[in-house]
């Protein structure tokens, strides 16, 4: 459209032939410089430079400089004089203005007496009656031709100038509109691009003129939810600017570190900002991620405060979670671009996988909490009551802690049982152990009410449970250890339930809710020791012509045997996770109980240790040997 019809806006300036220009220039130079010879390019340049550098106030400074030389009394005098002069000038000006006012007032009083009267001086009022002066238009004398020509050319010049300025104003406005249109087009194209990528673009609630993009999470805590909206403003050149208000621009994130014996042994991966950091999309993404991370840290802090009783400590920007005696998890909020240097500071990275796993799980748990919020929000609300529903802390740290705690307990029990097993195997005892770790996980009840993802996470919020079971030496005897860790509902922590099936000792009761590892270890060793004692007594019944052992004090691991000669012998079984020791003593029936120490004399003794090299006799062999009379 612009090409179809162009209208010249500037007035066409005719090139005037100037036949007299040279003589006039020469005359001007003569008048200005005296002689033509004194004018050279160098001198002109000097003059221009001098004019440029000249301070417009220089003359006054010079005057001041002069006055500075005078002493104070003279200065004072001069000051008064100047002041008097100023006042005099002012008075004179005032007087003349009053005269002029009076004159005009008197003139006007002919036509508009009331209004003119107000501006007349009292003296004039008394001296001259109102309306005593009149004016009339008279024909001016005809102006000379030269003056008319001057006026004509001046007005022509004025008009030309005005046309020129109007034209340039219009043209400026045109170009400005052009750039403005381009900028708007750019802006809207970018806004549309954002919208097409699926971001929610809306009007800002406070500022109805501006557009905003919503990148926050609707189900987040209100302070974070409301921050998830940034204005899409237009820079002068049409670039889209994401105006996030007062939020820091740096990308932040939660970092997970593992501390093993006062040494950082693992750090979660740093989520680096994408290469295309300047595109608006990536900036929105970064804003969203930072918001999410900040919320995550906020919620973890909130949760950490109620977990003080479980050893979780908080600093201003750090949450420390103890996992076991030597392991700690450190969680802090860092700028993503800042911790590169720290990373290179050289800590080992053997537990990076664990740190990454934790950092993923806490994020999954936060989004799960968001989903729960949505679920809660869309349920019919309970009746309004004076007590507001408290906002519960999200479960972010607790499931992680419970999982790690459970895992460390499982590992401990596994190694303990493995040690015990080696001891037993050294003595030629076969026993089977099997473990079902995290039996609570993996049981996923499908439900059409809850989406699969949510029920999957829900499993990790339920108490964790693992079972260890094993068969013992005597037939039908077995034991079973159930480990349960409860993340939320008190009593929190890990508990062991030990159930045992010993047909030989029907009065042995299972233990439940044991919290200490030492107690569990003692109980398991005790049950195994009881079983060994029972097995020895059972083995003996097969043999003939030998003494037969009978369990006398099972909880002390003592067995008694009486041989044909009436000599009684005692066998003592002691078991720990390092070794199995069996000793036999002979003791006389008469004084056996009265003075056991004196009566004892060790006959046979053997200690099975898994670390002993070479073949070792089996328990059965030893018992057979001990049974020989």
């Amino acid at each position: 459209m612009a090409d179809s019809f162009t209208l010249p806006l500037r007035p066409v300036i005719e090139k005037r032939d100037r036949p007299d220009s040279l003589p006039r220039d020469i005359a001007q130079i003569n008048a200005q410089w005296g002689s033509f010879r004194e004018l050279s390019e160098a001198s002109l340049r000097e003059k221009i430079e001098a004019d440029k550098n000249k301070d417009p106030w220089a003359e006054e400074d010079e005057v001041e400089k002069e006055t500075a030389d005078l002493d104070t009394s003279e200065r004072k005098e001069q000051l008064y004089k100047r002041r008097a002069e100023i006042i005099q000038f002012a008075l004179q000006a005032h007087m003349e203005a009053s005269f002029a006012l009076d004159f005009v007032s008197l003139l006007l009083s002919k036509h508009n007496p009331r209004q003119a009267e107000t501006s007349m001086s009292p003296f004039l009022k008394t001296a001259a009656p109102l309306g005593s002066l009149n004016s009339e238009i008279i024909n001016p004398p005809p102006r000379p031709d030269t003056a008319l020509k001057d006026i004509k050319s001046v007005s022509r010049g004025w008009r030309l100038q005005n046309f020129n300025s109007a034209a340039s104003k219009l043209l400026n406005a045109g170009t400005r509109l052009d750039t403005e249109v381009d900028a708007e087009k750019d802006y809207w194209d970018q806004v549309l691009a954002i919208k097409e990528k699926g971001w929610k673009v809306c009007r800002l609630p406070r500022d109805g003129q501006a557009l905003g993009v919503q990148y926050g999470f609707l189900e987040a805590t209100p302070i974070f939810r409301d921050r998830g909206l940034a204005a899409l403003r237009r820079a002068d050149d049409g670039k889209l600017v994401l105006d996030k208000g007062l939020i820091p621009r740096k990308a932040q994130g939660v970092r997970v570190r593992i501390k093993q014996q006062d040494r950082i042994s693992g750090c979660s991966k740093v989520c680096r900002p994408s290469q295309d950091a300047e595109s608006i999309e990536s900036r929105i993404l970064q804003a969203r991620d930072t918001l999410f991370e900040e919320e995550l840290f906020h919620e973890m802090m909130r949760e950490a405060r109620i977990l003080g009783n479980q050893g979780v400590t908080t600093r201003q920007n750090l949450v420390t979670i103890p996992v076991s005696e030597e392991q700690e998890i450190l969680l802090d909020l860092v700028d993503w671009d800042q911790d590169h240097a720290l990373e290179e500071a050289g800590f080992s990275s053997e537990q990076n996988d664990l740190a990454d796993a934790i950092s993923h799980s806490i994020r999954i748990l936060l989004t799960f909490a968001h989903r729960q919020n949505l679920r809660r929000r869309t349920q019919p609300p309970p009746p309004l009551a004076p007590k507001r529903r408290p906002t519960l802390e999200y479960q972010i740290l607790r499931p992680v802690m419970a999982y790690l705690q459970h895992k460390s307990h499982i590992q401990w029990l596994e190694t303990y049982i493995a040690k015990l097993r080696r001891v037993l195997e050294a003595a030629g005892i076969r026993c089977d152990f099997n473990a079902t770790q995290f039996s609570s996980i993996g049981v996923l009840q499908p439900s059409h009410l809850v989406p699969k993802v949510e029920s999957l996470v829900g499993v990790f919020l339920a108490p964790f449970e693992s079972t260890f079971s094993g068969t013992l030496i005597t037939p039908q005897s077995s034991f079973r250890v159930r480990i349960r860790t409860n993340p939320t509902i008190p009593p929190v922590g890990t508990f062991y339930d030990i159930s045992v099936n010993l047909p030989q000792f029907p009065d042995v009761q299972p233990l439940s809710r044991v919290g200490l590892q030492e107690e569990v270890a003692q109980a398991i060793t005790h049950f195994v020791m009881l079983d060994i004692a029972a097995a020895i007594s059972l083995q003996n019944q097969e043999g003939s012509g030998k003494v037969s052992w009978e369990v006398a004090y099972p909880h002390h691991g003592e067995l008694l045997a009486v041989d044909t000669a009436g000599q009684s012998k005692k066998m003592k079984v002691s078991l720990s996770h390092e070794e199995l020791n069996i000793q036999t003593y002979s003791l006389s029936r008469a004084e056996g109980f009265a003075n056991p120490v004196a009566a004892k004399s060790s006959l046979l003794s053997y200690t099975w240790n898994p670390d002993t090299p070479g073949p070792q006799p089996s328990l059965a062999d030893f018992v057979a040997q001990a049974s020989q009379t």
Partner: protein, 265 residues
Amino acid sequence: MHELLLFASVPAHQHHELLQQLAGLTAMQPRHRLERRLVFKAHRKPGLSNARGGTNQGADIVRLNKMLNGGMYYTQVVGPISEPDFETQPSSSGDPDAPMSGTDETAGSSYDYDSQPWKLEFRDIPEAGTRSTITARLAASATLPKGDIVTPMNAWGYSFVTEYVVEGDAFIHNDIVIFLHRVLQYPIHGQEPHEPRRQLPSFRDMSPLERSGSYILQAAITVQDGSNQELMRTASQHLFGLREQLKSAVRLEHADRLSLDTRAK
């Protein structure tokens, strides 16, 4: 428990648009609701009113009489149903739209009347005067046994009057439940049955009570303790806030008090 309400009438052509607007406002998808509503009327049990006791129990008896005979109300028994419940495919040659009670015509029907959960909803006549810009009324609800509800209701002194179906979408906006619904009537063939239907007709045969197909928008907020003035004020302010937000779409107003009269005369 008190209930504060505002209502608006929504013409059928605005229904879809309003659904979208409400979904945007409440940031949730609509929850579709289908409810069977049975209307019961309280009736006086003969013989209770002329019970006379000794003089020392007089006051108690008077109070009991007043409770039993003072106000008689209509109450509703509400049962949630779903759309598949309507898909009745009777294999017999009987009339599908006349599910008479007693004719055990369960073949092909997915609707099981005997496991239908019920809830009793009692609503008082809205309070007069004080809050003229909002409808406030006493409300109470209780869970009832499943299945046949007429027998226990009769035992409690209520007789079945009629039934209808409410179809609509619910939104939750903070404490406010927004329910955009309409009333559907069962197709009538001959005489209206005197008991709740054991089978549901096809959903297409249900006809809206309002012939133009318009909907009712109901914004409700419940308050635990109606005597707590502070809470009642907060609740009505919430409702007024919603009214302001929806001003450009619909005009929420209080309902005529007498049109919500539940007293049995």
